[in-house]
Assembly symmetry: C2
């Protein structure tokens, strides 16, 4: 029985790797990384995003000028065509992965009952 | 391509549902729920666990007497044979699911690089 679960996981890993959602993302990510200007802009944005998420998760306050800085950075990266496309591709893959997680977690949800909406 | 990912997810859902880890957990959960005394004890423990987790996640302090209460409740439920087995079964399934998540997230990890250990 055990091996079936792991076999299914490896099949799914392969399916994700071959999906258009993943290959699109990979191509855009490679494009951004091949362009030092784009890469710098994107790394800067990613860093800021992680800092803000960490603050949110640990209940720290986000200062108004930090928020303003974040909004400016988002506006800037969204004007870069390849980065904007990369962010859309990330969004699409995230949605697929959220779907997959819902499907896989269905047995546990059936057992314990769905969480309140 | 898309359908392959979802097909793989449904196969995996079935594999989880048929795994001994899941069926063991389900049998123990049904046993606990069929026994009002055990069910009450387990629900009480689960409720307390969720309250403490929520506090931890939102950065709220856990009072010393709340911690003491939690430790007493854990000690109590662990003395109940079926509940103790249920908790072990939950632990085993959690470990399998963590493995599965690691396998499935491998493509993204390869793309973005592994998080720092
Ligand atoms: Ca980078
Ligand atoms: Ca219950």
């Amino acid at each position: 029985m055990m091996s079936n679960v792991y076999d299914a996981a490896y099949d799914m890993e392969k399916a994700i790797r071959n999906s258009s959602e993943f290959t699109d993302l990979k191509n855009l990510y490679d494009q951004v990384n091949a362009d030092p200007g784009a890469k710098g802009m994107f790394d800067n944005f990613r860093q800021l995003q992680m800092t803000l998420q960490q603050k949110q998760m640990t209940g720290q306050e986000i200062a108004p000028d930090e928020m303003e800085q974040a909004q400016k950075t988002v506006a800037l990266v969204q004007q870069h065509e390849t980065i904007a496309k990369l962010m859309e591709a990330e969004q699409r893959l995230s949605m697929v992965i959220a779907d997959l997680n819902r499907i896989i977690m269905k047995p546990l949800e059936d057992l314990y009952g769905a969480p309140e909406q």
